[in-house]
Symmetry: C2
Subunit: 234 residues, 2 copies
C-alpha cells in the first residue's frame, strides 16, 4: 500500500475469524497507536473489523477522507457464502457504506505456511484499477486469491458469489469437571455448477473479484408476497 | 409459537446486540438444557445467534426438520441497514441458508418499558402465512413492529430495505489509570425519500416485512467492471 499513497492502519488486536459484521455495543473500545511499520501510522483496537473502520473514520482520520479502504489479506478463503461470516469483508462493506472505495483481500490457503509474496503485484494492480476507475456507489470488492500452486495464476475473473454453504459438524467433548462442550468444524459444500462464480475461479487458478453490496432485500420476492399472501386479517 | 406447533428453543446465554453474522471459530461452545418454559424444550448456549441455529440443526434437532425458524422478538429496531449488524436477523438468514422458512422479529422501541403484548396476533398471523404459503428459496423475512402508539397499527407492508445508515459518535473517556477508552454511540440517518421501504412503514405505523437474501453480489456492477476495467496487465 505504501507504493500507492499514505497508509493509516487501524487493526483489531486479536484474531477476528468468523466475526461477521459484529460491532461493539454496550462495551467500551480501546484504541492505541503502535509504532510497528516504517512510515505508517498504525493503531490497534479491541474492537471488531467493522468497529475499526468506524474508529478510523471518526477518530483517527476525522476530516480526512481516505482514497481507498483495504482490509486483509485474510489468511483463509472468503469466497461464496463465507462473505457473511467474514470480518475482513465486513470491514470492506463498512467502508462502502461510508462511501469509500473499499476492497477486502483473502488468500484461499489455511496452511500456517501459506505464501503471500506472489500476490503483491495483484494487490497493487487491483487497488490501482479501483483508484483509476472509482467504484460504483455502495459496492465493495471481495477479492480472493488461489493458493500458490505449481502453475502460476491464470488471471483475474469478475464473478458472482457461488451458491455454496458450510456443512457443520459438532464434536462433543467433556472438560475435566465432566461438563460437555462442543467444537464446531465445517465442510464446505459447493452446489454451484456455473463457471461465472468465485469458487470456479479459485479452483481454476484465477483471482476472483466479486463486487458486493449491502442491500439484502430479496426484490424478486416482494411482488409475489404482495400478490399471493393475505395480510387483510385485521 | 405454542399455538402453532411444538417449540424448541436454542438461545444465547447473554445479550447479542450488534453481533451480526458472527460465528464461534477457534473457541469451544457450551450448550445446556434449561427448564424455563412449560411444554417447551429449551437450551441455552454460549454461542452467537448464528451458532444457535447451527447447534439447533446439528445437535438438538438432528434428523428432525423444523417447519419454521423464528428469531426474536428483538428489543430494538432492525430496519434498514441495521439488518447487517443484527444477531436476530443473522439467525433468520442462517435458517434460510439451511433451507428452512425463517423469520426475524424486532420491535422498534428501545425503551426498557417497551410493550410487546399487542404484537402477539401479528406474530401469529405472519407465521401462519409463512406456514401456509411457504417461502421463496433462500429468503428470510425481516419483520419490524412500530412502537406502541395511541393509534393502533395500520396494517402490514411488504417493503424493501431503506437506504439509511448509522452516523457514529465516539465519546472518549479516561479510566482510573488514566488510559483512554471509547463509547460508540450512533444516530440513525435516513436518506430514503421512498414510501416502499421499511423506515417509511414504521414511521407511518405499519408493520414492515422485508424479504432478505444472502447473495451479496452487486450483479449490476459485474458487466461494467468487465467492460471498463483493464485486467490484462499480466
Amino acid at each position: 500500500m505504501k507504493k500507492l499513497g499514505d497508509v493509516v492502519v487501524v487493526a483489531p488486536d486479536s484474531p477476528q475469524s468468523g466475526m461477521g459484521h459484529a460491532i461493539t455495543i454496550g462495551e467500551t473500545l480501546r484504541l492505541y497507536e503502535e509504532d510497528i511499520f516504517e512510515d505508517v501510522v498504525a493503531f490497534k483496537s479491541s474492537g471488531t473489523p467493522a468497529d475499526c473502520v468506524k474508529l478510523a473514520k471518526h477518530h483517527v482520520l476525522k476530516e480526512r477522507k481516505p482514497d481507498l479502504v483495504v482490509s486483509g489479506i485474510n489468511h483463509g478463503s472468503n469466497t461464496s457464502i463465507s462473505v457473511l461470516y467474514s470480518g475482513t469483508m465486513s470491514a470492506a462493506i463498512e467502508g462502502a457504506l461510508e462511501g469509500y472505495p473499499s476492497i477486502g483481500f483473502s488468500l484461499c490457503d489455511y496452511s500456517s505456511k501459506a505464501e503471500f509474496d506472489h500476490l503483491e503485484e495483484y494487490v497493487y494492480k487491483i487497488c490501482k484499477q479501483v483508484l483509476d476507475h472509482g467504484m460504483a456507489k455502495g459496492v465493495a470488492l471481495n477479492v480472493n486469491f488461489p493458493p500458490k500452486r505449481n502453475e502460476s495464476i491464470r488471471g483475474i475473473k469478475i464473478c458472482r458469489q457461488a451458491h455454496a454453504k458450510w456443512q457443520e459438524v459438532f464434536e462433543e467433548r467433556f472438560d475435566p469437571n465432566g461438563r460437555n462442550y462442543f467444537w464446531m468444524a465445517g465442510n464446505f459444500v459447493n452446489f454451484d455448477k456455473g463457471e461465472d462464480n468465485d469458487e470456479w475461479a479459485i479452483a481454476n487458478n484465477y483471482v476472483s473479484i466479486v463486487p458486493c453490496q449491502y442491500d439484502l432485500t430479496a426484490h424478486h420476492a416482494i411482488s409475489q408476497m404482495n400478490q399471493d399472501w393475505n395480510w387483510e386479517m385485521f
